[in-house]
């Protein structure tokens, strides 16, 4: 079966531009997470979607970051007016209610470089 997929795999952009990162979770997974991994740093939680509930946005570092999840499936993370410190790997994960939502399945990530 297909795992979590993310696109693009790599993105190079200029400072000040907006970027959109996409995540396709595993079919049937009700929870979806976005994390950021900077060089030499651990994964940093950004946002969490659970079913039809309001998303938990407590990890978003600034109001330039936003995310949405359409139809309970695909999610898009948008970064507006990108800054060089936004350069990182953005990882998406999903989890199934069958595992109490605890085990997370990660995609390969999108490597973002802001010049």
């Amino acid at each position: 079966g297909a795992g979590v997929s993310q696109s693009p795999s790599n993105k190079v952009t200029e400072k000040g531009k907006d970027v959109e990162l996409r995540c396709d979770p595993i079919s049937g997974h009700t929870a979806l997470y976005w994390y950021r991994q900077s060089l030499g740093q651990g994964l940093e939680f950004l946002i969490y979607f659970q079913g039809n509930s309001a998303p938990d946005k407590s990890g978003l570092p600034s109001d330039r970051f936003s995310a949405e999840r359409t139809g309970g499936s695909v999610s898009t993370l948008t970064i507006q007016r990108t800054q060089q410190e936004d350069s990182a790997v953005y990882l998406c994960a999903s989890s199934s209610p069958d595992s109490r939502g605890e085990t997370q399945y990660f995609g390969p990530g999108t490597r973002l470089l802001v010049l």
Binding site: V4, A31, Y33, Y35, G40, Q41, G42, L43, E44, F45, Y48, Q50, D56, G59, L91, A93, S95, G101, E102, T103, Q104, Y105, F106, G107, P108, G109
Partner: protein
């Protein structure tokens, strides 16, 4: 918030030996603790989950222990193989029972043939 510490130095180990990694955390005791494996250029892959009321969990050549008094988990790879070379991440629920995870920075293991 939870602070998680893993050894920043890579662990170099001879093939066939047991690799042991440590994960220490501060603040509250989590409902569960997880270990993930991450290879270069890839997303983390789930390995094991151990709950607060469990002392030890095993899966094939992997063993995890959980000491809530010491606020520590140990991760063991027995009979290590070069294919075990990777970075291993410790993760805990950010808030008790909440599925948002806080991750350590990871500990790299290099198994020397």
């Amino acid at each position: 918030s939870q602070k998680i510490e893993q050894n920043s130095e890579a662990l170099n180990i001879q093939e066939g030996k047991t690799a042991t990694l440590t994960c220490n955390y501060t603040n509250y005791s989590p409902a569960y603790l997880q270990w993930y494996r991450q290879d270069p250029g890839r997303g983390p892959v789930f390995l094991l989950l151990i709950r607060e009321n469990e002392k030890e969990k095993r899966k094939e050549r992997l063993k995890v222990t959980f000491d809530t008094t010491l606020k520590q988990s140990l991760f063991h790879i027995t009979a290590s193989q070069p294919a075990d070379s990777a970075t291993y991440l410790c993760a805990l629920d950010m808030d008790y029972g909440n599925n948002r995870l806080a991750f350590g920075k990871g500990n790299q293991v290099v198994v020397i043939p």
